[in-house]
Structures are given as structure tokens and as C-alpha cells.
Symmetry: C2
């Protein structure tokens, strides 16, 4: 702050002059002490001047209301929900989340540093604070074919950026504890900054070695006992409650039952879809659920504010304290915790405010680069009696590796796999670097009939993944995604039914949430008509089938991957 300006603000803080804006008679949540105290809050220049008794040029009476610091989502991915970052944020901020600590892992896997720059640019002027953790595992594994490698060398340019807080979720725990050079280069680069973890199910000794490498957070914790193992070691547990992964109940129940010290916990969403945010809220949901489970509201609010701010070194956030940013949430009461108003830097968030459209670099809309893809290459020769089949597990992203006799027919003197109601064909086609790599496999339990579904969203490398019961429609679907440079598509009976283009890196639509929602609804309806089970989202399910780190069997452009055995097959018919 300029000294001259400080002098003016100091006079306001001291009550010698009227403040710009005063919230009168609020029950103010002091996050440092975890108390509500009735008083006024003075604001100017988007900052808190002080608490006490104040007069302002503008006064807002909050008698009977509760005023809290804005909430912090301590870990999330912005690009997982099909809309642009400003759209997602404009929804979430209405629910009181004013700070987002994002890991642009998907964007980086497609477009490397351009993807990170995209996230930084798109969030520069949103009415919220967006900080970025540098994705640590791009590519995710050494068997991935993704769009870019993010080495420590490439990360260096970001060190001075004040919005880059540290290193993103370090998923490759074994590289950490084994002391891999490239991993430790990245860890060393972010020495003195936050290094986020991703460490479910490590043994106590491995967790010690992982923590010793400097990793101090984890958002993958799913139960109370493991959460305590992490907390004791000084690993902050970011309790996750998103669309898919919901860990809050298990952890908070344990906290409540054991009267646990809650300093070691924060809240995050990791991945939460925009429609759910719109319907039920964002970090305010974590707070509400925690309170419902018996956590005192003061402790839940500390997790959502000061504890996250402290964990990420954001000393100007998370508190209604002099000098802190005036990010504020007005709550109706402490039972319903209804969000009445949200302020960012002292400015009220307008619910009907149109979301900013920030153009993106043209190269980010040109990321689907496929070589030598022909319908013929979708053929799958039956080279033995049994095949490794990817069996879907309902409601889970894990799969089962089954060796089964699958339907084969003779075509032009060759035995070929022939999909039926039970077994469908699946293929993954490398789409970043014209490598021409692709692989076909067999999936059981997907259920599609009379067509194909394809997507350019497939974790973490985001190659084209397609599933269907006939090569013609599968071929059409893949070609359609080349045309639209990414998206979701359904082909049926030799023609494209409908496509949701996701032209930004093949991950994000810039057509606006309403449009996305309308198209997606029609496509999901159609997918279910084509045999996909109700309560089963084919696009989300597809998006995980190429993720090699999840057990038991996956499909990648290099072949069928057996995760438990760490073994790659060229064909599902290989032993």
C-alpha cells in the first residue's frame, strides 16, 4: 500500500474520518478466535479497515445477520466441468467461495504451459481470487501419451508469478519416496512454497518419506483414521466433497466422535460439476454437511476460511481483520446457513451479472491431431479363444480384468471380434501429436447398442476414446471429434446424432453453460435410449477408462494395461 493511501485509510480505521463502506451491526465471525461478536466492519479500497464501531459514507445494516470471511476451496480443477473457468467461478462465488486454489492438470496434459496460461488468463479478472498450483505429474505416468511434458525447467518461468502458490498434487508417490531425479527437481524448485499431495493409502513409512520430501497437504484422504495419520505428520487434510468423490461424512464423523483438534483440516471440492454447484452450492455445502454431522459451525467456518488461507500462505485472506481483503459472506442465520450476499474486495457479487467471455489463444482450439486413422484400424482380430475384458463396476471408476470367451465372427477369412449386447468395442486414439498410436479393446457392461459414443475428455492424457457396437459408427464418431476439434458425440445408424463441441483443448466449451446443459441433456437421453443404464453417465465413465493408475484394467493408445501387474498387452487377446 502506498504510504499516502495508508495515511488516509489509517484515519478511517481510527474513526477520525468516515469509512468508505461500513457493515453495521453484524454478528462478525472472527476466524482467528472462532467467535461471533456483534460489531461493525469498516471497509475501503477493497480492504478491511477494522472492526468496532464505525460510520461510513455508505452503510449496510446487517442486524440479525452473520458476516463471515469468503470461503476458500483449497483444491479444485476448473477444467473438468465443460464450461470456461469464468463460468464455473461465477456460479461458485454466488455461494460464498471467493478463493479458488486450482490445479490445471487437465489443461497442462493437453497443452502444457499454454494450458496453464489459459487458466491464468481466464481467471485474471474474475470476481474472485484464483491461485494456481503447478501441475506436478504431466504426463501422469511414463506409459501416457499426452500433449506435453511439464519439466522443472518449464516450471521455472512461473516461480515469480504471485498467483502460482506451489506444486500441484504430487500423484506419483513412488517417484517421490524412491527419489526420482525429475520428481525431486520439481519438489526442489518449489522449496519454501506449498507442495500439494495426493497420497491415498500410503503405508506409514511411505507416508513419512513422502512428507519428508516436503509435501504438506492431501485431498485424497477418504477415512478418519488415515486423515489422522496425515494430520499428525503435518499434512493438512483437505476434506473433499465433490461430484464424484465424497469424503466429508467419513472424516467429519470421526472428528466429531473423537473431539479431534480441527486445525489440520480444510475443505475442497476437487471436481464439482457446474449443475451441482448451481443446484446445491459449493464450499458452503461442505460447511453445511459438516455442521449437520455435529461439527460446531465455528470450527467448520475456520476450515473454510483461515485454515485454508494459512495452509497456502495467503495472509491477506480468510479473516475479517484489518488489512485483509474484504471478501465477505452474509449468512441469514447459523441454522440454515443461507447465503444472502457475497462481497469480493468490498464489491457485492451481482447474481445476474453476465459472465465475462475472454477469448482464448487459437492454438488451444486446435489440439486434435490424429494420424492414419481409418475404419479398418478399428477391426479387432480374435487371435485366441479368450480375451481380457474391461468389466465396468457400477458406480465406481475401478474396473475388473476378466478373461472371457467373447463373440467372434469370420469376415474375409479372418476371425474378428463382433460386439453384442454384453460386449462392446472400445478404442483409444492418440490425438495430440499425430503419432498414429491406437488400441482396441473389449468392454463389458457399457450397454450401448446401435451406435457409438466418443469423447476427447479421457483422464489424464485426454486422447480420443470411443465405445460402440459397430465400426461404422465408431469411425464416424471419431471423425466428428476431429472436425469439431474435441467434444462429446453420439453416432447412430450411420449418422451423427448430436455433438457437444469442446473446442478449447478438447475439454471445454465456450458456448456457455445453458447451451452445454441443453445439448448434454439431449445426448444423455439419447444414450440411455441406446442402452446405457439409468444413473450411469457414459461420458464420465468413458473419461476414466484410459486412466492407467486405476485398477484393474485400462485401455491406452499403446495397448491394454493391466494395472495390478503393471503390464501392457498389444491386444486384449494376448495372454
Amino acid at each position: 500500500m502506498e504510504l499516502e493511501r495508508y495515511r488516509i485509510l489509517s484515519r478511517m480505521a481510527r474513526g477520525l474520518e468516515k469509512a468508505e463502506l461500513v457493515f453495521k451491526n453484524a454478528n462478525v465471525f472472527f476466524s482467528h478466535t472462532g467467535e461471533f461478536v456483534p460489531c461493525d466492519v469498516a471497509v475501503a479500497d477493497g480492504k478491511i479497515l477494522g472492526t468496532g464501531t464505525y460510520e461510513g459514507h455508505k452503510e449496510i445494516d446487517l442486524s440479525g445477520r452473520y458476516l463471515c470471511p469468503g470461503f476458500i476451496d483449497s483444491h479444485l480443477h476448473l477444467e473438468s466441468t465443460l464450461v470456461t473457468p469464468p463460468e464455473l467461478i461465477s456460479q461458485a462465488v454466488r455461494w460464498g467461495t471467493t478463493t479458488f486454489i486450482v490445479d490445471p492438470h487437465e489443461a497442462a496434459n493437453v497443452s502444457g504451459t499454454d494450458g496453464i496460461d489459459y487458466i491464468l488468463e481466464q481467471t485474471e479478472t474474475v470476481p474472485a481470487n484464483v491461485y494456481v498450483m503447478m501441475p506436478s505429474c504431466v504426463p501422469s505416468t511414463n506409459i501416457d501419451d499426452n500433449g506435453a511434458s511439464l519439466t522443472a525447467g518449464k516450471m521455472k518461468n512461473y516461480l515469480e508469478n504471485p498467483r502460482i502458490l506451489g506444486l500441484g498434487e504430487v500423484m506419483d508417490a513412488s517417484s517421490v519416496v524412491e527419489g526420482s531425479v525429475s520428481m525431486h527437481e520439481k519438489l526442489a524448485l518449489f522449496h519454501g512454497k506449498v507442495r500439494d499431495g495426493h497420497a491415498p493409502f500410503l503405508s506409514p513409512g511411505d507416508l513419512n518419506a513422502y512428507r519428508m520430501a516436503g509435501i504438506t497437504t492431501d485431498h485424497e484422504c477418504v477415512d478418519y483414521a488415515y486423515a489422522m495419520e496425515e494430520c499428525r505428520r503435518g499434512i493438512q487434510v483437505l476434506i473433499r466433497e465433490g461430484s464424484a468423490a465424497r469424503n466429508l461424512e467419513a472424516i467429519v464423523k470421526g472428528i466429531v466422535e473423537n473431539g479431534t483438534d480441527t486445525e489440520g483440516f480444510c475443505f475442497c471440492t476437487d471436481d464439482k460439476h457446474i449443475e451441482e454447484i448451481q443446484r446445491e452450492g459449493h464450499i458452503n455445502c461442505n460447511i453445511k454437511k459438516a455442521v449437520k454431522l455435529g461439527l460446531p459451525v465455528e470450527k467448520a467456518l475456520k476450515m473454510a476460511t483461515i485454515q485454508a488461507a494459512r495452509c497456502y500462505g495467503l495472509s491477506h485472506l480468510g479473516a475479517i481483520a484489518p488489512g485483509c481483503q474484504a471478501d465477505l459472506v452474509v449468512l441469514s442465520d447459523l441454522e440454515s446457513l443461507e447465503i444472502l450476499e457475497v462481497y469480493h474486495k468490498g464489491v457485492k457479487i451481482q447474481r445476474d451479472r453476465e459472465t465475462e467471455k475472454i477469448p482464448c489463444a487459437p492454438k488451444l482450439k486446435n489440439t486434435v491431431h490424429i494420424l492414419n486413422f481409418t475404419k479398418d484400424r478399428l477391426k479387432l482380430s480374435c487371435t485366441s479363444k479368450y480375451a481380457h475384458v474391461i468389466e465396468m463396476t457400477p458406480g465406481q471408476i475401478t474396473t475388473l480384468d476378466k478373461r472371457e470367451e467373447v463373440p467372434c465372427i469370420e469376415k474375409n477369412g479372418e476371425k474378428e471380434f463382433e460386439p453384442n449386447r454384453l460386449y462392446q468395442k472400445i478404442a483409444v486414439i492418440e490425438r495430440h501429436k499425430y503419432t498414429g498410436k491406437m488400441c482396441q479393446g473389449i468392454v463389458k457392461g457399457f450397454g450401448i447398442r446401435g451406435g457409438a459414443i466418443a469423447s476427447s475428455v479421457s483422464h489424464d492424457s485426454h486422447n480420443i476414446i470411443v465405445v460402440g457396437d459397430n465400426d461404422e459408427d465408431m469411425y464416424l464418431a471419431v471423425k466428428e471429434l476431429v472436425r469439431t476439434q474435441g467434444g462429446y458425440t453420439i453416432a447412430e445408424g450411420g449418422r451423427i446424432f448430436e455433438t457437444l463441441p469442446l473446442p478449447v483443448m478438447g475439454l471445454i466449451s465456450d458456448a456457455g453453460y445453458e447451451k452445454v446443459h441443453a445439448v448434454l441433456s439431449r445426448m444423455l437421453k439419447k444414450a440411455h435410449e441406446m442402452g446405457i443404464g439409468e444413473g450411469f453417465d457414459p461420458f464420465i465413465s468413458l473419461s476414466f477408462l484410459a486412466l492407467p493408475v486405476i485398477p484393474e484394467i485400462r485401455i491406452t493408445p499403446r495397448g491394454i494395461y493391466l494395472a495390478k501387474e503393471d503390464r501392457m498387452l498389444k491386444s486384449p487377446f494376448d495372454e
Copy 2:
């Protein structure tokens, strides 16, 4: 950590190889969760490798014992206790304090950056972690005549020193809130680092403005209500329990009675004399007293460890967590909290270890520079009937400004003040820069008869201060301190009774604690024989009589200072 070394330590942490040192079967205090959990602690290279079940090349069985992180004194002055920094620390570390956050305010007032360098050098190799806060108010006020001015420009060279954590106690609150250029230059220089406060009794508005300037700690808080005012504003309260100022009971009682969240509190000693440390302990005393007042031991231990570490950004301290420094305290039990053993970087503190003697720069032993001082200049002419008298307040450092008729006699045709049993003469003589400035005054309640007492320790500028009932002895005493280049001395009947030389900056003896203690005991005995009341330390009392910020009346080389009126008199006989 070098990667190669990490790999080896990682194998130990994972239990794949024996650790260097294992503490077996301890009740380990996990400061992040505030719990004791029985387990082993593995150590190598002075670091914690992990907690769990371990085997070690060396194993120490701690069955039935309690193992805690080393304690942190979050604010203290090393130079206030007459012995060298290594001596003080070697006493305190035996009681479990392994980290000291020191403010070399006195050293800087005498010798500027040389004084700060002295503290840094003397503590470089002690068996403890010593961090330094840059003294912010040198000189303390603009009416002080001290040895050096510490401007932001001079502080710049220290910014990169990893042992300099920030700006020391900012006593001049009014310069802060009024926006003084030189004060804000210093505050700005330490932006992003810790800026310690010193803010007793600010109004709520001033406290807001003070906090808005970036100040985030205070150790001057004396009651619970004010502590909460500070905590709510994000000012960490360092609960002080030293030799003179004892604030713990008032604050902790409030915490216990109100069930207050204790995250916003740490412990400090500020000033604690070596004999008291030797007798009763150091930060362990704060812990014990707090527990006795009803604070759960876990909360007290958090204040003494992780909370202080967090407050000062010392992420490698304050916890028994992988990667943290192996500073450890073994406690007998949770009732007596007896300190059995202390480890610094995994090495046991030997109680009989001889304190290191680190030579100091010769210029630091040559700091008493007096000009034109003659016995004649001690004469005090009675220019009016009434004089401003400095009345001592028993047990307090405050004084009362009394206008009284004092004894005067005629000598050589002039009326002169003549000390008696009630009124004695006092003088302060500038001793840093040969300015020749000096002033005489009248003190009531000091009680010395038949001699004089002089000291080169007088806060904050540390000029020579002398009190006596005759000019001859006063003159002798001052000359003696010039000869010894600082110290305490007593003159009686025309000769020096004894002197405790404090040759290092006129503040510190390098003769060793035993010697200091022996000399000081003889001198105190003598002082009491000469009329000083029992339970009254003439040297400590003298040391505060030149401190202009304390009400009501002080003596400085420039004159008699009336603190309430902010007015300087050339002579006590002025109106």
C-alpha cells in the same frame, strides 16, 4: 537436502533400513493434532524421519516417558541479563527451550549493526536455534541520545540472512498509525516477513490501523480482554512471563474461564534473568503455570511449539513430523512436567557442557566515550524555591513528578542542591559520541547514603546513569565506568567499593555467570548497607530512570523529561 541423501533417509523412513537413532516406546506429542500417541520416533541427520515402529542403530527406550518438540521462546532480549548470549542460552536450553526469537534492541542502541552482528555471531554455534528480529526503534524516541540510528537503509543488508525473520517490536505505535515515512520504510522493507508489535493499551481504532500496517504479534498484552481484541484482529499474542513482567496468569485465567480458542497464543519471556532461569526454568515455566491454571497440557504445549513456529514461518520446527528438525524434550510425566533430557538436532544437550566463549570484536569493548566530564559539572544550582523531583514508586518502573522544596546550601556565593536522606542527586551522562551532554536531577526514595552507584545500563540508550549523595563519589563512579568501559559500580567515602565490569557494549560481562553472580551479590549487599531498601535492586531501578517513554518524569542527557507533558527542562528547578 541433497537427493542422494534423501534416498538414504527415505529408506530409513520407510523402515527398509535401520535409522540412525530411534526413540522407542515414547508417548509422542503430535503438535499438529494436539495428542499424545505411543510410538517410536526415528531420527537421522538431526531430522525427524518419521513416527511409527522403527529399529535404529542406536535406540533410546522412553517407555513411560513423554516426548515433545523443543520449546520456542517467541520473543526475548539476550543482552538484558549481563551474561553473554551463549551463557544465557546454555541455561535456557537445559529447560527445553531450543528456539529463541531474539530482538537485539539494547545491542543495537549502543553499537548499531555491530551490536546486531555480535548477537548473530555469538549465537551462530550455540546448541539451539536463534533467530533475530531487526530492532525497529533505534533510537527509541527522537529525544534519545544513543549510539546509533538504525534506518531502513542499514537494515537492507540483513534481508537475505535466513536467521533474520523480520522486524522487531515496533514500539512507536504513533509513528505507525500516523504514517511516519521512516517507520513505514522499515515496515515496507519487511513486507512478507513477520513484523512484531509492542502495543499495550491502544484504542480499538488505533489497534486496527496498527494491524493494517502489517504488524501481527504483540508480547505486551497484560490482560485477557485486550488479548482477545488483538487475537480477533489477527495479532498473535505472545504471553509473557519474565523476571519483571508477568502477564501469564491474567491471560490464561481468561482463556480457561471462557474456553477460548488458543490458536492465537504463544509463549515468551521477553526478559528473564539468568539466575531465575537457573532456578526455575524458562518456557517450561510458562507451560507449567498455564497448566496449573487449568489449561490442558496439550494446548499449552501447542503454544510453546507449533503455534510459535507457525507464527514465525519456521516450518521445520515445532513438530515431531517427518523432515522437521529433531529438537526434542523428554518429559517425566504430564503432572510434574519435569524435563529429563533435551535434544537439539538429535544431539543430547549435556548439562555440564562448558559454554562456548566466542571472542567479540574489540570495538564492542570500547563504547564509553565521555567528553568534558568534571566534578564541577555535577553541581546543581538552586535557581528557584521548588524543584521537579523524580519520586520512585516502590515495585514499579513508573515514577511520580513532584514539585517540592528541596535542601539547598550556599557554597562560594551560590545556592546549590545538597542531597540528604530523602533527596539524592542523579545524573545522566551521554557516553556514546563524546557530545558532552549531561543533566543533573533530584530523586526521592532511592535511599543511598555516603556514596554513589553508577551504571552503563540504562534503557534504551544506555548512557551512564549515576545516583549519590555527594559529588565526589558520583564523579569517582562515573570515572570508574569510563575506565572499565561500562559496568555497575559503587563508590563510597572517596573510593570505589567494587565494580562489575560490563565491557561488551557496556551491557554484558564476558567473565562468566559465576563471577558475575558473586560480584553482584557483594555489591547488592553493600548497596543495601548504604541505605537502599530491601527487595529493591538499585541497578535495575537505575536502568529505567532514563527511559523517556515511561511516565511521569525521567532524566536524559538533554534534560529532565516530563513524559505526560512531553516537555524537556534544562534543570529540575525550571518550571
